[in-house]
Subunit: 333 residues, 3 copies
């Protein structure tokens, strides 16, 4: 069990202790369920009553509350809570070198000790795995693939030749990186495969959900920038370039050569046509379809996407159309 | 080969025999293709001619037909046909204990005999597998995972720690249960991972298609109720709670904390925003996007969803808009 | 390193040499990046300046250019470039028989030498693998499955019993073929599984991306015709029949019994309801939803799909609705 004092946690997250900094904390919890060794949080003073009725040993707050409980004052209690939760629930990390006897590791692969390699994993010739990295059961690391330090490849992940991962990259189960891009030239009725010769580069702190696919570039590389987080079942087509700190929810499909700036956020089930360019700080609502560039930051929605306010007015208009669309109003409902 | 008499089949499905109950049946077939040892069905008396021209040895009917063939009278011939088909084509089941020598099974895992475990499967410490269960090649069962009786985990399924399956749960190939939910707190430009501490509970008779993902809860559990059936490539976000006997077609994506009542049906390619609540007996047509609660049962469609009749009228209106939208009517078609 | 003369390449692609046919070529490149041993291409004479400034050793052209570089004149330079690229970057192919010692191959499986079988792959009883085929790590080939010659099954592919592949079929990583179709009969509140008894047939030169699923038929087979190419995360439901030379982009979901003619092309994120019939040479734009047959060739788009020109006019109309939808025009944008 991990145990830390309130004072030590405050130092980690750059907060100020109010009250008893020597209280020992062993976990995080919702304030309603918290016990005396748990740390909780409130977004602001409106939730002071919640603190008063809680048994938590420490509370993260934006400003000190009139209450005897140990508090840590931070700019953003929700983000600080996430950081404290990581202290008690860290990602898997290799603390001692442990390669399962059923793993197949090519003698020319370079494993910087310590790494952990699960049962039936395969690591091909010339691959390089950084220290601290954990490789799940049945994962496949192709020839020459580079994996940084403290990465987590969950079970059954596939990294094809030409893939390079930064540090602290997390890939959930069954995600495939470096599959062939979807490139064909039409020749009469026939589709002629265009060999896909590029690779994939994932920056530091990139995290991909389960069952994602990131295709290798046709000539250059497909790239995902530092800190970008991607949900389950997202497809990133060949030669896409994603900026830093983007957030893409499940089922987004980025057509080939899509370019995202930094801090772009996508709701779920979004599709972009190929060769689309989207500016930094654009936010697109779920279920939208993007078939033209979005050169200005802001909120967008719809298919094809409109600025969000305009889309919502259009939806009001469509609702009214329904009332004019048929003389048998109400029928079928 | 499995062989049963008409009388015995009638007893299994609670039907009444008309004609010769001693006829031996060895399979099911479409009436047009059926032979004398096959059982077929007709929905109602309008298809009596089909029975007259068929060579089938037995026919499931809603009411007795004037025809010498052996018949079993049941309330719902289509459902009864499915039940009889299961007699002749049962799911894989472990009838004798058989763990492939290449499987890696932790000594602390508890396998209730008989179970079948395929080549290269991995079963971690403290996992518990019920009798009759079949685990496919390369499947991964994480630490402490509980799998009920008579389950089928197809090849390459991944069950992460914290997953609990009821009895007769069927998971098609490559489905992942218990992957980390998509939870991040924004801190300036940076996304801070929120550790996902909950599990996943799948009730009895839940069936998931291939390549699905069901994320673990952030604090509590993600839950899928008894008898719910889910098609391929469906994503269930963290903390979703699905009721009983729901039916979700391919490519549905349930955002985090979506709550479905009982008997909800979704067509394919449906997306729900997070924290949506949908009442029992709601039916949503394919390709819809749901961004607000649906508190009343009924048929819905569209993006955002409308009651189906209203959506259809809106579509008529949009078709008319097309005629007004441009002076160059017809161009481009 | 593969090396060929310009004359030899011209013969392969049915082109005519202009200039020095003895120039040795070892690769392909964009003309801007090409060196003296690289072959590049231009679509037509408008790009003659690009040729003049390039260091390429050979250029594919539609008509001879006034320039001393070696040229090959072909009808379609882009398609010819793809074919030449395949010469220098062929698909993996088994040139000598090589079954990894950790692979589990049933003695009754028939492997036509040479084939290559990766680590931890599983080949079940009665399966048949054609010469030249490469099977990746952890792939699963079920009982009785037939795989033709020169196929590539990437890592973790799953082929269930009842699957038959033609020659030169390429399946990217984690694709599942032959999973159970989504068939249930309703019986009161309960869904009764309809056993799925058919198989899957993939024609010669079919290529599927990563993480696809192709379900087995309910009674007959699910079929994909010769030369059809499918992107990542596409779902083909039970009893679909796809024609030849179709092209389906990522995230398309074909509901059960969808029938596509030949040369149908789908943009990404397209959904078809079940039992839809689509004529040859139909092209549907991304993000569309198809809920009725499309009996005539042409371009379509939208949800529900309209002829593309009509859909674009409807979108203009919806944009105008937005301006009428609210008195607070501009608010929220």
């Amino acid at each position: 069990m991990i145990e830390e004092s309130v004072a030590s946690l405050a130092e980690r997250i750059g907060g100020q202790v109010v009250g008893d900094g020597s209280v020992r904390i062993t976990g995080v919890a919702d304030l309603r369920a918290a016990g005396p060794a748990d740390l909780g949080f409130v977004r602001d003073a409106r939730y002071a009553d919640l603190v008063a009725s809680s048994r938590a040993g420490c509370v993260l707050v934006r400003a000190p509350l009139e209450h005897p409980v140990a508090q840590i004052v931070v700019r953003d209690p929700a983000a600080a809570f996430a950081r404290v939760a990581q202290v008690f629930h860290p990602l898997p990390q290799a603390s001692r070198h442990d390669v399962h006897p059923t793993a197949v590791v090519d003698p020319s692969a370079e494993l910087q000790e310590p790494v952990r390699v699960g049962a039936h994993a395969v690591i091909e010739s010339g691959a390089r795995i950084g220290a601290g990295t954990v490789i799940g059961s049945g994962a496949f690391v192709g020839p020459g693939v580079q994996v940084g330090e403290d990465c987590v490849l969950q079970h059954h992940v596939v990294l094809h030749e030409g893939t390079r991962l930064g540090n602290r990259v997390v890939l959930q189960a069954c995600t495939v990186v470096g599959s062939d891009g979807f490139g064909y030239a039409r020749d009469g009725a026939e589709w002629v495969r265009i060999p896909q010769l590029g690779g994939v580069v994932l920056g530091d702190d990139v995290e991909l959900g389960a069952q994602c696919t990131v295709d290798r570039g046709a000539l250059g590389d497909t790239r995902i920038g530092r800190g970008t987080k991607i949900d389950n079942m997202v497809h990133v087509g060949h030669n896409c370039v994603l900026g830093e700190d983007c957030l893409l929810a499940a089922f987004s499909a980025l057509g080939g050569s899509t370019i995202l700036g930094d801090r772009v956020t996508f709701g779920g089930h979004i599709c972009t046509a190929g060769h689309i360019k989207i500016a930094s700080d654009v936010r697109v609502g779920g279920n939208s379809g993007i078939i033209a560039d979005i050169p200005e930051k802001g909120d967008y929605m719809g298919y094809p996407v409109l600025p969000k306010g305009r889309w919502m007015r259009a939806m009001v208009g469509i609702g009214k159309l329904a009332e004019r669309g048929s003389p048998r109003r109400g029928a079928g409902e």
